[in-house]
């Protein structure tokens, strides 16, 4: 199959000169590096939360308090939050670039995307760091 993989010739004879940054290269690389970490973080999270003894049925405030009493799980969740947001947000940036036809649409969709990323990362980080198991006292 892949031996016969021939691609069309690039349409333009030369690459556009100058003004190139390596941003897309780093973004491509980041998707892969974060992907490796997310395999462990996200699949581990789903396994513990949804499958291990009783799954979602045993989750409540006390369960969360028990987990976040440990810096290990705090760090796990913090890393997962940041990596999943940046990985998913960067992925969505690609999707917007692919499908938005007008520059204005593309611009506003990205504004919406970046605002929601900042909001979710900030809120999630705040909650992990300020969690109070005795909130009702």
């Amino acid at each position: 199959m892949s031996e016969s993989l021939t691609l069309d010739k690039p349409r333009s004879p030369r690459r556009p000169a100058a003004r190139r940054s390596n941003f897309e290269l780093y973004s491509w690389l980041f998707m892969r590096i974060s992907g490796v970490a997310l395999v462990v973080l996200v699949l581990g999270h789903l396994f513990i939360m949804n499958i291990l003894d009783g799954g979602v049925h045993r989750i409540n405030f006390g369960f969360v308090a028990g987990r976040w009493a440990s810096p290990f799980w705090q760090f796990w969740d913090l890393a997962m939050l940041w990596l999943a947001q940046i990985h998913g947000g960067n992925g969505l940036r690609t999707v917007i670039n692919d499908y938005a036809r007008k520059d204005a649409t593309r611009f506003w969709l990205k504004v919406l995307l970046y605002v929601s990323m900042v909001l979710i990362i900030a809120l999630g980080t705040y909650v992990i760091f300020t969690f109070d198991p005795n909130i009702t006292d």
């Binding site: 199959m1 892949s2 031996e3 016969s4 993989l5 021939t6 691609l7 069309d8 897309e24 491509w28 892969r32 992907g35 490796v36 997310l38 395999v39 996200v42 699949l43 789903l46 949804n50 499958i51 009783g54 799954g55 979602v56 049925h57 989750i59 409540n60 405030f61 006390g62 969360v64 939050l81 999943a84 947001q85 998913g88 947000g89 992925g91 969505l92 690609t94 999707v95 670039n97 692919d98 499908y99 929601s116 979710i120 809120l123 999630g124 705040y126 909650v127 300020t130 969690f131 109070d132 909130i135 009702t136």
Partner: protein, 141 residues
């Protein structure tokens, strides 16, 4: 293939022009994209509901109750399935990019992704739904 744009028409290359478009590889990419976007949207809601632990135990416990509803429970199975596919196929994409034989075995690796997915989802679905199903079938003393 693992690039940043939608698949281009490969119509003029030899071999009938169906090298990528409509091929299984294209569908694996479509599914990767859909599952990624779906997961991102869910994550948005999920961080908001978890943030309720900062409001009160009661507020948090109330939303988490909705996750234990049978219909929502079924959606969770779908979501786990989506993330699992995205993760497994993501590993495949990385192997295609970084392993020298990756491109040659991309099709076999796609089958491996699907087989592993099925093998994990069978017990996974069982454990995610047992409690809900037994409760539904008049357990719950």
């Amino acid at each position: 293939m693992a690039g940043t744009t939608a698949p281009e028409r490969a119509g003029t290359s030899k071999g009938g022009g169906t090298l990528y478009r409509g091929d299984l590889g294209m569908w694996s990419w479509v599914a990767h994209r859909i599952t990624g976007v779906l997961t991102f949207f869910f994550l948005f809601a999920h961080v908001l509901d978890t943030a309720l632990v900062r409001v009160s135990p009661d507020a948090y416990d109330k939303v988490i109750e909705t996750y234990k509803n049978p219909v929502v429970n079924l959606f969770e199975v779908g979501l786990v399935g989506a993330v699992l596919y995205h993760a497994l196929n993501g590993i495949r994409v990385m192997l295609v990019d970084f392993w020298e034989k990756g491109a040659r075995y991309q099709k076999q690796m796609l089958w491996a992704v699907l087989v592993v997915w099925v093998l994990v989802m069978i017990p996974g679905t069982y454990y995610m739904l047992v409690r809900t199903v037994t409760d539904l079938l008049g357990g719950g003393h």
